[in-house]
Symmetry: C2
Subunit: 301 residues, 2 copies
């Protein structure tokens, strides 16, 4: 496919050389690397924010400290087809995306300097995407970023107080009440979080306890893929192909049992005001119960 | 002024009844409340996120907890003139805006339930502004939000380690190096922060130590207003009237000496991607040194 500005899309099948050498791919037996015939493909980010060749240097003495950009920054090309998205892809195709995330994490965690994996998928210009072709980004960091550290600290405090995983408790309470359950299956659930930050924020997660995404089985990945496809069809139907971000929150390497991995789907319908941008203080005009009602009714099936 | 959608602007002089009853105003002697003749005017937000009439209720037993919206949410109408902005207003006019912030804080802090003041000014639709007319918002919260708590914790840790205010140290280091100083005067400085999150982020602050904005003198407010006007003229010239947010970071009530208040001016030139939105993880393509060079050269004076 040729993009609007006349450049060839580097993520389309047949243009593998434009995206760079593949780190991982799912392709038919006998297929050769960096050629057509793949279903999902992972390459290094062309403008990486982090590199494994960097040093995570000791901080210096002054008050202004810079650390080397140690880490990894990879791009998962989610489909050979330019126009694919999670509402039109099959559950099995989405499963392969999750498979690629998992396999890359299992490989990268052998580097003991890396502590945290972040996966982000931005769809649409309003969500900061610079390429249309379905893709996600995987970052591996040598530290635990503040937002994840805060979330884990909350879960850990709850665990030591009640001996329960806060996320498992939340899922149980939500399923009992029902008003914020967008859809659910035997092993997975999609819900509008109680304190939704923006209209139609939706979380997808396993109902069983699991701290680390990369420990999940193929069966769980397929079940999550089915749930994601269902939610994306609802969001596309209700909001007419909105811009959105998807964020994976998963426990840092070796963090143990006190977390519960989940995917946060964040529609990006309105500009981010200063308080939200700077302080994460969100004023949300649509209640999660109302968003749930709309999403539930959006698919007739 | 009549807005594009045909409604009268509620913030323009002569339309005082549309914005509601004034809590505070600077007006000529003998002038009557809620009539023309003011230079700055404070009213309650029409759709307040927080109210002093609310209860900050005890959390309930479950894992999902809601607290009452106790607090205050006020709007500072910064000028009677619809088209005014901080690059065209005089320093004295900007001083009156800062005066209104300070006076409202001094009044609100008498309510011992309130702990934190946030001021945010959003300019342009991309920064989340819904009205064109120059205004800012003041929020008073019954708790210290996470982003401010983290910032204060960092300053407190540095203080106990070095016996110095981290911000005073930063200002000293930056003035000595010079490469990130956008402009400075005897008592105030504007600098591009070392770890700028977005292109052309600029902080304005007093050079003397001061934890709380509401403790500052009229003289300091005027000096800060002069610095803000200078920076805004540079930003308007260099970036052609960009959308931006301004955020006041000031110590919570009674927080003591371990903080240093400052204003963060954040141009909003590009959409916020998912990692920045969710985790505050910013990838900034313009170095603060380059931004400083551009802003320094933007005004011939």
């Amino acid at each position: 496919v040729t993009a609007l500005d006349g450049d060839l899309c580097p993520f389309c099948e047949g243009q593998e050389h434009l995206a760079g050498r593949e780190i991982l791919a799912w392709r038919s037996p006998g297929g050769e690397a960096d050629t057509p015939g793949w279903r999902v493909r992972v390459v290094a980010n062309r403008l990486p924010a982090l590199r494994v060749e960097s040093q995570y240097a000791e901080p210096t003495a002054g008050v202004l400290q810079a650390l080397g950009g140690l880490g990894a920054h990879e791009v998962i090309i989610e489909s050979p087809h330019h126009a694919a998205n999670w509402s039109t892809m099959t559950a099995d195709e989405i499963r392969l995306v999750l498979w690629a995330w998992r396999e890359r994490m299992r490989d990268l965690r052998r580097d003991i300097r890396l502590k945290t994996f972040l996966v982000v998928k931005n769809v649409g210009a309003a969500a900061g995407a610079t390429l249309d072709h379905a893709h996600s980004q995987l970052l591996a960091l040598p530290f635990v970023p503040l937002h994840l550290d805060d979330e884990i600290a909350g879960a850990r405090a709850r665990l030591s107080k009640t001996s329960h995983c806060a996320f498992c408790e939340m899922v149980d309470e939500e399923i009992a009440r029902g008003v914020r359950i967008v859809s659910s299956g035997e092993t997975t659930v999609a819900l509008a979080p109680f304190a939704s930050r923006v209209p139609f924020e939706t979380w997808v997660m396993p109902r069983h306890h699991g701290a680390s995404f990369e420990e999940e089985s193929d069966e769980t990945l397929l079940a999550i893929a089915e749930r994601l496809r269902d939610v994306m069809q609802r969001l596309h139907e209700a909001l007419k192909s909105p811009p959105y971000s998807v964020l994976l929150h998963t426990a840092p390497v070796g963090e143990g049992a006190s977390f519960h991995w989940h995917l946060e789907i964040v529609p990006r319908l309105t500009p981010v005001n200063g308080l939200a941008w700077d302080g994460g203080i969100h004023i949300n005009p649509v209640s999660p119960e109302e968003a749930t009602r709309v999403l539930r009714e959006s698919l007739r099936s």
